[in-house]
Amino acid sequence: MKRKVVTVLLALAAFALFFSCKPKESNTAVAEVQKETEAPAADASSGTLPRNQTLYWAGLQWGSINGWNVLSDDMNNFNVSRQAYGTRITMFETLYMYNFLDGSLVPLIADGAPQWNAGKTEVTVKIKKAAKWSDGTPLTAEDVAYTYATAVKIGNTAGNSNKPYIAAVEAKDAQTVVIKAALDASGAAKNPLMLDNYLAVEYVAQKAWIQKLESRTGSDATKMKIDPAEDVVYSGPYGPYFADDQKVVLVRNDNYWGKDASMWGKLPAPKYVAHTIYADNAGGEVAFKSGEVDVSQQFNSNVQDLWLKDKLPISTYMSEAPYGICGSLPTAYFNMAIPGLDNVNVRKAIAMAVDYDAIIANAMTNQSPTFDQVPRSTMNPTPGEQALYDQKAVANLQWVGNDVAGANALLDKAGIKDTNGDGIRELNGQKLSFKASCPNGWTDWMAAIEIVAAAGEKIGIEITSVFPEWSVYQTVVTQAHQMEYEIFMMWSDGSSPTMPWNRVRQLMSSEYVGVEGNWSGNWGQYSNPKVDQIISAIPATTDPAKLKSLYTEANKIYLTDVPSFTLMYRPNCFHAVNESVWTNYPEDGDGQNIPPGDLIHGYSIAGLYTITPVK
């Protein structure tokens, strides 16, 4: 008997040991980095960073990191993250920095503006002579070319998304890179906008390091993509310092090449930049309020209460609503395959009846311009995009919302009436009853969907809200011919060098119809050959007047056919700062033209060079 008990206990112990070891395996790499970096400075352990030399973020990192591999899409590391509105360039750098305030490209590794050839089929970029890697070797055109070649070879997102548009990235000499566009049948570039996008979004990695990685992994694509890269060489101002499941810390590289006069002329102000890993939004919010976090990328509902009511030293880019620069357009799509929603009058009536002011006040707590201020279109509210279409030409098609009378009149006129007296209108003998969905727990979207559902009631269309879990939602929404969600929310992307063209495409292009695993757009499966023509014409158009007429035409169709309707405007990223430790953050009207991108996205990193410690 005793023996049996002992055996069972041993088995249990072995079992426990096995399971307790398992999660550690994936973290060994990070732990090693930690060991290595901890050695030189004894005070390096997480708790004792000098607060007045450290900048803390919140809302960028959830869960512990998997490593520092710039070639991987899977590092879950806030420093290795390509974003259309500004790639994060603390550690790895891009040729240009995107500024979503005005859509410009600011040279980083590149020297001067990109030079297009006459036919707009290739673009030449010079590399700054000062640019260096963290190991002291110069950053050359060869690195740029090799990074792109590797990306295509191993098939990461950087490679896959650019491959159709970029034929080759070649190093002409050490300081000159030529990016050749993929050509269509007529010999013109397929899409020159995607080359601009490449210049701003894609990281440059060191050729020598990639070769080291290749020899270590035997050039196996999968192995290369999951390598945690603890030995990585980087060109940015910060390098790995400490990382565990509580915190990620980077330390400034005091030999950073950017202190050269040809770039910033100095080092960024914080010696350390760090991100504490919080369990949820609430955790981050509490830390932000108490001054443990300097820059927050989290949505703070009623952000003005933080200074008006709580009297905290917190501010946003703009002092008044909408407090930030909105870039993306959370949108409700109509599933065009659903009987009833294939009728344009029904679609437009629903869109007209929705109380958008309530959505903006409730879901966004007024951190979005209203549709009175920025009339609806396929454009985001930045002046740059707004200027790209003729607002007067579509003014009679735009609706502000909460127009119940107008929506009712539209339906009555179209002969869509309540024939059996149950309070719900019928179309072709069928009751108009729809389900409106968005993922569960996405509170701002959920509030918006509730308000859409409430609008249906007022115009005799039954709309009930359904909130599936995100894991389910994402698989259904991206299916080729889903009939489950009828009115449902998805996003349309924020600012980027390909905007607003890409947004028009995302909202209406028929190239996404019937595509399995569609993450790109047009989830309602709308199709219109006229729009497709416009979408294919825009990228190659350089004449501003022609471009404006194309965008205006696209907007006319969008507002007439109503394949989807935008519910609110939303910032590319949220940006609020607590000035307990640092001050002089970029602000609206300070003449610096630094976008509110959390001092990490694209050109907003310039903010790291302007902030100063609070006296």
């Binding site: 006040a361 569960n440 727990g441 000035e579």
Partner: protein, 416 residues
Amino acid sequence: MKHILSQIFHTGKFTMGFCIFMGILLLMVFYPLINPGDPLKIVSIGTFARPGTYISLYDAVDSRLNTLKLDEAPANRLESVLKMEDRVKMVMWFEAVEIPIGHLNIHDTEALLALWEEHYDSTVRPEGMTKADRNYFQRLDESLNRVLVTKEKILATRDASTAELQEIRAIEDTDYVNLKNVANVKRLPLGTDNFGRDVLKELVAAIRTSLVIGLIAGTIATLIGLTLGLISGFIGGIVDDIIMFVTNIFTVIPAFVLLILISYSIGQDQRGPTTVAVVIGMTAWVWTARAVRSQVISLRNRDHVNLSKLSGHNLFLIIVTDILPYIASYVVMALILQISGAILAEAQLSMLGLGPKTTEVPTLGLMMNWSMLYTAHLNGYWWAYFPVLLTIALISFSLNLMNTGLDQVFNPTLRD
């Protein structure tokens, strides 16, 4: 019966619990009569309007005005924007821009404001001053300007054709309106929630739903528990073994885990309040079954039961007439506890986002869930969650009190 009732109401605990519960019930019945309408209607644009009385400004300016000459009015007006902390801050501004303040007494409002008016410049960016502080001074300056100007305020309408403003009324700082004369005055005793719904109205509707959930779940749990307990206790043998085997399995699995798993697998669009109630009821019967069984076992060999058996009464009749009456008081008490437990279970489930789907009816748990999602607890919007919490506590407290009171009457070992 009368005797029992008087006995019950003699116990202080029961009476107190009963009073609280009745109070809640009365609120539930009568409040909708005073304040009718859809409890889920969005009344305010924006989230979390504070509790209080809201006066329609639009109507107020059209109401009959009275002129009241109140000496303290200007001071009150100033006090509302210039508090002690603001005065201290103003001095900080003077120091930051190096303006000599001499022997300025910060209680000397006139001197302070004169100095402020003379020197404050919103375009100045004092060295080292945070943006938050600069914004603060700008807001302070604006509100001071608003308050200090004692000129009349002009109301105007815009002419539709010429777009010109036409004055309709001038408002003096001595104009007052009697609240009774204003057409629209809305009292929101508990403010509004994250959607802008009237919290009190929603709360009352939620109490009703939660009680219905409690009642359905409690009844189901008690019925299942009672039936299984009676059968297994009275019949015994292999039937008892099987039923107890199942019951024991359910005992070792925590009911709440089971509840979460079932709710999750049902999916949100299927989860109405009734479904949630049924699910709660199906997982909460275990202890009732065990307790009833043990009581039945002690009853089944009593003489009157044996007598019934000898008389040839069938099983059903024996259980209903000879056993049930003896355990009825226990069952009623169990039912009360089950109701209270079910209301709590609904609240817990909804807090996890597994409660009834959200748009159709309010429940206490859903109100808590939404206020938590909107971090009301972090931002001091107490009215969105505290009254709900209090209500849940009061309901379960009153039910438990009643249960204890009943226990004192019916449990021979506790009887005085």
